[in-house]
Amino acid sequence: MDLFNNTTVSTPKIKRDANLNDRIPDGLFLACPYCGAQLYSKQLGDHRVCPACGYGFRLQARERVALMTTDFEELDADLKLADTDFPGYAGKLERAQQQTELGDSVLTGIATLEDQKVALGIMDSYFIMGSLGTITGEKITRLFEHATAAKLPVILFTASGGARMQEGIHSLMQMAKVSAAVAAHQEAGLPYIVILTDPTMGGVTASFAMQGDITLAEPHALVGFAGKRVIEQTIHEKLPKEFQRAETVLENGFIDAIVQRPAMTATLAQLVRFHQTQEVK
């Protein structure tokens, strides 16, 4: 699986590096990873969207915050994993932290979307493929806890290749830890909106990505549990191009709506407005 490739090491197989397009400087020619359209980087615009098919190029969490919010107060910015015994893991974490300016694979904070105050989490696929580590789980859990205490909606952009292998069983436990915080937030009658972005796979799909009150997705985002290659090896069958794409997952009944990136902020703000509760005494 190339999801866990160390992207800072140059490799001759650049065709396999799905993130490369995002890092080409402005003015260069690039291909849409979904439809293959040949584009100049500038054609993608501020939202980094393919003009041919609407695919949203992968964004860093901080880029997304800048695009969407008028006000953002980061939470747990300094939270980092202390215990990095696994061979080669400490260096890998450090490089990811430098590249993304994040402590781990999610950015969390209190944000204003148009006029709506929300607890906002954004996973970053540039941080070890958005894999679910202990700190990722801890930051998302704290976001839910904060939102429950402050009576705020949670809006979470998911992007993940799945488990953080280097953390083993502790990565698996994050699925349960976050779910417990989601349960408490739900019981407080507060809305939780998920936006599935490219890619959302594995343990994230099998936990908090699929526990929202409302589930949105970006066009053509890859959304699934098992990886395509593992499935092809198991069932000895070639899978169609549209397999696990957001449009297919919507058709199968697991997504409420696919929202184009430029319309995302307004859509989210409106959804939050629909959930404003009258004070009940």
Partner: protein, 261 residues
């Protein structure tokens, strides 16, 4: 603990043993409980043979039992995809757990799975959503929940039935984020380094007990009856303890158990 009196197995040996047909789910159920009545189906898509569920009697009280089973002969193993549930298997489990919560019955799960089934229809029917919902609902049930991994405890497909008040493991069982082969394939692009992976992953009961991931190791014995008698006695004791809590305390304690990770 019986394990202490024997030579300790290496992680590679435990992985091998965990995959052998040591216990079948039906043998475990009839060995520990009486009056088992099996209940089928998820009410939407079908009945997954790899998830066996129903009502049983544990020392005079009704309990809900759910077990993932790999199957006993080739035909059975094929039907059960070697213990890899489909989404409707997890939804059957969730349905039975909902029912247990309604009637105040303790929930006891037995797990032996390499993982949720990686198939096209499984994805189309929302494998991720099925597991996610099972985990989320398990965080709310106001009844005692005990999960016992008796073979392989593979990934999210095992966690779906292990979000419990206590997690136990048989002495020769494993519980891990992925199989050692999958782990090696992802990290090192080389599934043949699975032995090395098994050593690093900390997937044996001893490792997991030391890490606080599980509460108890069930010593295995050539006499299965001895194992079942021990599990029955331990279940009765722990369930009684859990039932002495208020339902609010019980759920809060379960959430706190996972909050610590």
């Amino acid at each position: 603990m019986a394990a202490l009196f024997r030579r300790e197995l290496t992680p590679v040996q435990v992985v091998k043993k965990s995959r052998e047909d040591r216990f079948s789910a039906r043998e475990i159920i009839s060995g520990i409980f009486t009056d088992f009545i099996e209940l089928h189906g998820d009410r939407y898509a079908g009945d997954d043979a790899s998830v066996i569920g129903g009502l049983a009697n544990l020392g005079g009280q009704p309990v809900t039992v759910i077990a993932i089973d790999k199957g006993t002969d080739i035909k059975d193993k094929l039907a059960k995809r070697n213990g890899s549930p489909e989404p409707y298997g997890y939804r059957k489990a969730t349905r039975l757990m909902d029912q247990a919560a309604k009637f105040g019955r303790p929930i006891i799960t037995f797990i032996n799975t390499p993982g949720a089934f990686p198939g096209k229809s499984a994805e189309d029917q929302g494998q991720g959503e099925a597991i996610a919902d099972s985990i989320l609902q398990s965080m709310k049930y106001p009844v005692p929940m005990i999960a016992i991994v008796y073979g392989e405890g593979g990934s999210g497909g095992a966690l779906a039935l292990a979000t419990s008040d206590q997690v136990w493991m048989f002495q020769n069982a494993t519980y891990s984020i992925l199989s050692p082969e999958g782990f090696a394939a992802i990290l090192w692009k080389d599934a043949k380094r699975s032995g090395e992976a098994a050593e690093l992953m900390g997937l044996t009961p001893n490792d997991l007990l030391a890490n606080g991931i599980i509460e108890y190791i069930v010593p295995e014995s050539r006499s299965h009856n001895r194992v079942f008698n021990l599990v029955r006695a331990k279940l009765l004791e722990e369930i009684q303890q859990l039932q002495s809590l208020t339902t609010t305390e019980l759920v809060a304690k379960r959430r706190a158990r996972f909050r610590a990770f």
